[in-house]
Point group: C2
């Protein structure tokens, strides 16, 4: 006597690019999926800096996860915080003491910003990973101008109008460029006691150039573009102290009330849940098929996995890497269910690197093709709008960008939770 | 020997409809204006319930105050909290101990929700006056569905899916209708363990009908429309207890985790600053020219003023009343500067009452003309879009409404600050 087999239970932890890509790739497979995230929304992190700099509203780059899988009855979405994995009994544990069983587990739990062992800097130098991070940074930036407008002491006013961004990667470059534009183009007509355009914006990078990983010519172009926007690029200097009223980098001390952190990330604690070996950033050193070593039922993807590309270099912590890994894992799960041969080892293909530098310029590295300037900006804009979810969001984001270009007006300049 | 006279100093406290209307009306007058608000934004309160119910984003109904007066060099905007007025020396005092002098003062400091002496209800029954109020209510509503999805106890699940709105005025009616639509139309395809459509939405009103102040026929229509959306309208019952897990109204006790307060308001403490006589809601009983009794240099407008209309009834706490009062005060100030005769006493003209009941219906009372149903909805929508500020916002709000109509998708369904 045979019984109808219950469907294979796939539990996916994390509704970012990696986790969603697994769920998408499993469409039509005989599985029951539980998609778990501690937030109710999927976040388009590549544009998060635009929320932090008042260009976009949060709802334009975030979507309720369960709305994205509404047409998939086999997918159950849970808003819940995972606290551990019991690999022996194949269960995921939640904060409230309950647990859920899996046949296959996918950990796509991402990363947070990290302070190189200086966690005490966090209150003074917020990083940018979540919606709340972005609204915190937005409040800090806008409040600095508001406080400067009311400040009568010139030294304190100067400190309030000084903005230091730590880390010369894409996020640091994009933050610095947008803050400079906000100060130089959007705010000046609105203040009476200060000149927002006199704000000092400093981008601090410990390495020899910004956008490390891009070709030298594009890094140089980015530096020049930032300088043209009025950003001071301080290279080759590591930050050694961050406090409420100053920052020290190299031999330089700068009085400032606003330090933003775009320098380092640390993976989620997924490796600890598994007792798996990690790289320096806490990422699980996965097997070539993206399983956790010794745990063939457990896949790890995205920012919480350490994956090597064709040349033995680690795949970068960007959306396309997470998406490719998720897609691969979905194929691997389907192959196992069909008892087909294992897919070939995962290979990361780099689609190109893009970074915006202010509202009229960008750099793009497609390997053989390199673009910069206004054409690159248009491509950057189209690419980002293309990858947004849904026509309404695309229209809304395009509308905001048109307004920023035509009028220098930023639509999301709200200070919330700062004062009651 | 004569000296150039310094311009007359007008200090306006509050950047709502009343305060902004004063500033607008003073364009071209020989005055130096300081516009003070403790928030950085002007808020379009008539649509705040749409932020609370995930239909609109905060940035679509709020604008930085200083951006609204950027073309008026004689206007200085301050983000600051006023703590008192020294009428003897004509100074406004700030939280930080500083003060600013005025020749003419306009208090337009609005109102907060009030609990009829039961302030202990506030944590369990949030009201709706600020952006933060709206995101708090949105989080409560959305989290109730999320928690219900994970709850296995049927009684607790039932309580989580029960929503009680206290107060049958326009805000209560609009909240109840929109929550019912969210539950019945937007959410059902996205949940697997519960049926969001089975949610119980109860509107509690102590009076004999909803929309008191509207003609009976429109009140009746609103009740029927709410019933058609699945809202239970409980009339003639006052709330006697609100707690974390239940509410008691009349002889009925309902287990619920979500009670929303739309019942009462109390004016800002402006009257205490002046030592002025007040009505029962704490509003300053102003003279016929909207000055505070005994303080001819101090005008009071909007929700913090008690103003009688032609028939001796108090002007309602709505945007048109505040706007008319602000316009009148600007005229009165200009007349004084010209040493012209005093303007005739202020008279409130009621432009009509509008309330939306779900996405396809509204009621409008223009006095002789009364409208209801779909035509009223279109007029309601056009009127609100007309009064929004700026083309970008109008487009964005219209876009959201189209999406809600066509797809039942609400764009601002983000839970923030709930979990870290």
């Amino acid at each position: 006597m045979t019984q109808a087999q219950p469907p294979h239970r796939v539990v996916v932890v994390g509704g970012g690019f990696g986790g969603l890509s697994v769920v998408k790739g499993l469409a039509g497979a005989p599985v029951a999926i539980t998609l778990i995230d501690r937030r109710n929304h999927h976040l388009f992190q590549p544009l998060l800096y635009q929320v932090a700099t008042a260009s976009l509203a949060t709802s334009e780059i975030a979507w309720p996860i369960r709305s994205l899988v509404r047409d998939r009855p086999e997918v159950t979405t849970l808003l819940a915080t995972v606290t551990g994995v019991d690999v022996a009994t194949q269960r995921v544990r939640f904060e409230d003491g309950t647990a859920i069983a899996y046949d296959t587990l996918v950990l796509a739990t991402g990363a947070r910003h990290a302070y190189f062992g200086h966690d005490e800097w966090e209150p003074f130098a917020p990083g940018l990973k979540t919606i709340e991070d972005a609204t915190t940074i937005r409040r800090r930036i806008l409040m600095a101008f508001e406080d400067a407008e009311r400040e009568s002491d010139p030294a304190r006013q100067r400190a309030l109008l000084t903005f230091v961004i730590v880390g010369g990667g894409p996020t640091g470059v994009e933050l610095a460029g947008t803050i400079a534009e906000l100060a130089r183009h959007t705010l000046p007509p609105e203040f009476r006691n200060i000149d927002p355009g006199s704000a000092q914006v400093v981008l601090v990078e410990s390495g020899p150039r910004v956008l490390r990983g891009y070709p030298d010519s594009l890094s140089d172009y980015a530096s020049r573009s930032l300088a043209a926007l009025g950003v001071e690029v301080a290279l080759g200097r590591a930050v050694s102290e961050v406090a409420a009223d100053h920052v020290i980098f190299g031999d330089r001390r700068l009085e400032t009330r606003t330090v933003l952190w775009a320098a380092g990330v640390r993976a989620s604690p997924a490796a600890q849940w598994l007792g798996a070996p990690t790289d320096g950033a806490g990422r699980v050193k996965v097997a070539p098929d993206l399983t956790a070593p010794g745990h063939p039922q457990v896949f790890v993807v995205g920012d919480t996995a350490s994956v090597l590309d064709r040349k033995g270099r680690p795949a970068p912590g960007i959306a396309p890497a997470a998406t490719q890994e998720g897609r691969y894992v979905a194929r691997a799960i389907k192959a196992r269910l069909r008892r087909a041969s294992r897919p070939r080892p995962f290979r990361y293909r780099h689609p190109g690197s893009l970074a915006q530098i202010g509202k009229q310029s960008a750099v793009i590295d497609f390997g053989v093709v390199r673009l910069k300037g206004e054409i690159a900006w248009w491509l950057w804009g189209l690419a980002h709008i293309y990858f947004l979810i849904g026509a309404r969001t695309r229209l809304a984001v395009a509308l905001n960008w048109v307004w920023i270009h035509a009028r220098n007006q930023r639509s999301a300049r709200l200070i919330t939770q700062g004062k009651s």
